[in-house]
């Protein structure tokens, strides 16, 4: 710090640390949420698509697999969009 800094400090005072903290809190919470989903979900989704395809012709993105945690119980939600007949 020198004599010029003493004057410069008076002006711009945008505390960037608080921005850093806010951004971190958001991204860390988001990534922790993803972390808790089991890593078998993508494989499960792929195999489900294969089974359904034996009977109905569907695309990969027509099967949605999601795991939700509510307290002590986990809900596995399957959402399969069948094509129009």
């Amino acid at each position: 710090m020198n004599i010029l800094d003493l004057f410069r400090q008076r002006k711009k005072k945008e505390p960037t640390a608080s921005i850093a903290k806010e951004r971190l809190q958001i991204i860390v919470a988001h990534e922790r949420g993803q972390r808790s989903t089991p890593d078998y979900l993508p494989a499960l989704q792929k195999e489900l698509v294969e089974v359904i395809r034996k009977y109905v012709n569907i695309e990969q993105d027509q099967v949605h697999v999601a795991l939700e945690n509510q307290g002590t119980c986990s809900i596995l939600e399957l959402n399969i969009t069948l094509p129009d007949r």
């Binding site: 710090m1 640390a17 903290k21 951004r23 860390v28 972390r35």
Partner: protein, 271 residues
Amino acid sequence: MSKILVVTSGKGGVGKTTTSAAIGTGLALRGHKTVIVDFDVGLRNLDLIMGCERRVVYDFVNVVNGEATLSQALIKDKRLENLYVLAASQTRDKDALTQEGVEKVLTELKQTFEYVVCDSPAGIEKGAHLAMYFADEAIVVTNPEVSSVRDSDRMLGLLASKSRRAEKGEDPIKEHLLLTRYNPERVIRGEMLGVEDVEEILAIRLLGVIPESQAVLKASNQGVPVILDDQSDAGQAYSDAVDRLLGKEIAHRFLDVKKQGFLQRLFGGRP
């Protein structure tokens, strides 16, 4: 009871090797027989920081492959009676270590040493995974900076799910936060995340705060662990961290700005 301690972070360049050298040396200074193991195969540097680079004959990979015995590969520290270093291989690639090989060496080390300090490579790949897999306790080295904090959180997730303790359903790895390169001046000016901010985000026990210090470079230049520079702020902060690791309750130091005189402020005195 011997303990395996991993020094890890995810991000590179935050001070893992400096910390491994300081903590390992600090444990030995307090009378515990300690070995520091470099897991950074291909990019070894612990030997340089410890000042034993010219005495490396056999390394970790040689022992894993049965090309040398552990006693041939262990390098005895010249300063401390009960401190040893096991260097990483410089010429092999990172796949040279296997889980079985690492387990065999660590089991053997646990028979002779009270503390086995594992210096993890950066990243979250094989080397870093092997360094933390068998750990009882982890020191997560973090800089007060966004990418380092995020990577540390990622590493905490891996410690909790991909370690041997997690896979076997044993008690989890005990996690410690070590905040390094801390600059209290910038924290007060609102330019740097403060210790409370990082603690709040990562939510693990704070082992210590190491101030950004010229002593660290000075020590690494000479191949002397910075903890042996007991006049320096960083050396003293590491010393406190070792005491806390051993269960002592010590107040945190070096969190406040040193008071500067009026003239010092005018003419740019470095704190």
